[in-house]
Structures are given as C-alpha cells and as structure tokens.
Amino acid sequence: MDTIISLFLIFIGAALINNFVLHYFVGICPFIGVSRRVDMAFGMGCAVTFVIAIAATLSWTLTFYILRPDAPLSAWLWKALGGNPDVSVDLSILSYIAYIFVIASSVQFVEMYVKKFFPALHRSFGIFLPLITTNCAILFACLEIMKNLQGGDQIWGLHHALALSVGGGIGFTIAIVIMAGLREELELCDVPKALKGPGIALLVAGILAMAFMGFTGVDRGVADAIRTLTHN
C-alpha cells in the first residue's frame, strides 16, 4: 500500500503540484512557441509524454546498472578487468553525455515510428518533432531520476521513475493545452502593441502558475484520505 501511495504522490507532484512547466520552468520553449492551437498542443503533449517515458526507462536502466556509484554492472566489469577491488567505481561524471545520447536516440525512434504509422501527424508536426530533443522537460526527468538513484532516503525503482516521467509528461500536456486554449481566445483581444505575442503569453502564464500554486498541499491530503480509506 505504501508503495502505491508513494507512486501516487510522485505522480501528482509531477503532474500538478510541482508542474514541470509552471513550477520548474522546463519545456517553456514549446509552451510559449508552439501552443497556438489546442489540437497541435495536445499532439505535442502526447509526443513529449511518450518520449519522456521511453527516455526515463532507458536512463533509469543505465543509471541503475552502470552509471551510479557502485553500480553492479560497472563494478563487476572493473573487478573482471583486474581493477583494485577496494576502489569504488563511479561513472556518474558520464551521465549528462549518456542522457543526451539516450534522449536523442529515443526522439529519433519516435520520429521514425510516427512517420511510418501516422504520416499525417508527422507532416503537421514538421520541425517540432526533432526539437523535442532539446526539450528541457525530458532531460530534467532524467536528472531527477539520477538524483534519486544516488542515495537519499529511498533508492528509486523503475516504477518510481515511470511515475515521475509519465506524471511530468501529463503535467506538460495539461499546461500546454490550457495555454493553447487561452491563446486562441487572446487572438481576439485588444492587447497593447508592445505586449503582443510572447509578452502577453508570459503574463498569462504567470496567472496560470498562480492558479497551479493552489494545488500545494493536495498531495498530503490525498495521501491521508487514501490511508484512512484503506484502514477502515
């Protein structure tokens, strides 16, 4: 039960309370640049969620078995190659390069998949699909997973990593879809000339972020509610 609650807390935390876009400011570029039409924004959100889940799975595996301090696979290899057994093996200095490689290849994979099975969607995305590589949200998820694999009170399993990444992806989708809806309405408004475009979008995003601050504390309340429910 505790595992389910902790997974749920990670998920809600990434999706709503500490929303990737509105709290951690990752994935701002597509948030400001792409979000002009709701259907496009939704497609973009789904693609990011998909890529983020793949990248998180791969980078969790890499970090857990190879990159973290005293990772089993690299420690075994070090001993098999005759290294000093008293020295602990730590490859975490390579993690940034490894993650960016993983992300670039998962984006390439998703692009090939979408091109083959959803050619219409692929045409409407155009340049934005390869640009997911430079979407900070994905690297951010990988870094959070790394942070929770290097010690701390709990070493994350793959299920925690997936909860964080899917939650983050869904949070990104929620934020970008709301923003696209707001901007569709904004087109009809009389905005001061200097604020047209990104200026007013940022101000609206600020108000949206304030609204999302209202979710603070929801996680504890929900966790308590689940606990009382299961105890009765």
Binding site: G27, C29, L143, K193, P198, L202, L203, M210
Partner: protein, 208 residues
Amino acid sequence: MASSSPSPAERFIAGILPENPIYRQLLGMCPTLAVTNSLKPALTMAIATTFVLLCANISISLIRPLLKPHLRILVFTLTIAAFVTIADRLLAAYLYEMSKQLGPYVPLIIVNCIIISRCEACASKQPLPHAIADAIGMGIGFTLALASLGFVRELLGMGSLFGHQVLPSSWPNWGILVLPPGAFLTLGALLGAVNAWTARRKAKQLSN
C-alpha cells in the same frame, strides 16, 4: 563581402541588444525563469552559460570542416554536454552552496537553445574570431537579461540586492515575485517594456 558576413565586432554588438537572446529571440527561457529569483544565482548561471557557449563555439568552429550535415546536431549536443560536465564539476568544487542551489539547472544548460542555435547559426559556418566574438556578445546579452530579471525580482520581492537589504524595512515585500509565477510576470512586463522602448526609438529615428 562586408554586408553579407558581419565582422567580429558587429557580431559582438549584435548579441548584446539588437539580437539579445532573451528579449529578442526568446531562447533559453528555462534558466532565465528558474534561477532569477535573486541576483547571485542569476549571475552564476549567466557566467556558467557564457563559459559553455564560448567553449562550444570555439570547438565547433575549429572542427567545422569535419562536420557532416546529418550528424551535426548530435555533435553539437555531445560537445555541449562535455563542457557542461566540466562547468558543473567546477561549480561543485569551488561554489558548492551555489551549485546545490542551482540544482538541475546547471546540467540543463545542455538543452539551452541559445547554445545550439549559436553553434548552428554561427560557429559551424564562421572562422574562429567571428565565433568567439559571437559567443562573448551573446553571453553578455544573456547575462544582462538575467541580471535585469534578477535585479527586479530580488529588489521588489525581498527588498535586497545580493542579499544586502537596500529598501527600507517598511517596504512591503512583493512575495509573489520570488515565487515561480513572479518569473513569468516579471519577464512578461520587462519584455513589454523593452518592446515599447525599441518602438519609440525607431519612431524617433524615422521622424528625424
């Protein structure tokens, strides 16, 4: 020749205001919004980014003849990732508290669009002096943008600058500016102010 490819000096000036990465091109928004709740982290971040931008521009410009078109983005990102690792380790060694405060935003320099766009638009096509001037100009432009945001947010949000109280204690701190929504609001307002200022200057030049 001079009109088709700007000289190093022109590239340097361009980065500071006419093509300012934040206010004009709206690139690299993630660190801009995330670390500017006070001046100190904002400046550290700006310097780290400038360092990575300069190193990446120099290396890309040097290996320019070897670049293959279909692999260039991968080469850019891996080069940047290597330099970001160096910057991250340096920060952790000499400014440990600051590196902890900046947290994941130092490694996130890897996906900062400014650096990739400068590698693509300038360093992969121009010789070394141009690339260096471009990197320093863009770096200063980025630093100015981050410093202006950090200045406004720290001054109005906490009444202090670099951690020293400057406004009288009767100042009601605008707490929202230090919180995440304040980042969006301040940048939106500053962006509007810069746009209005440029428009007025252009109008004046036309009327003269």
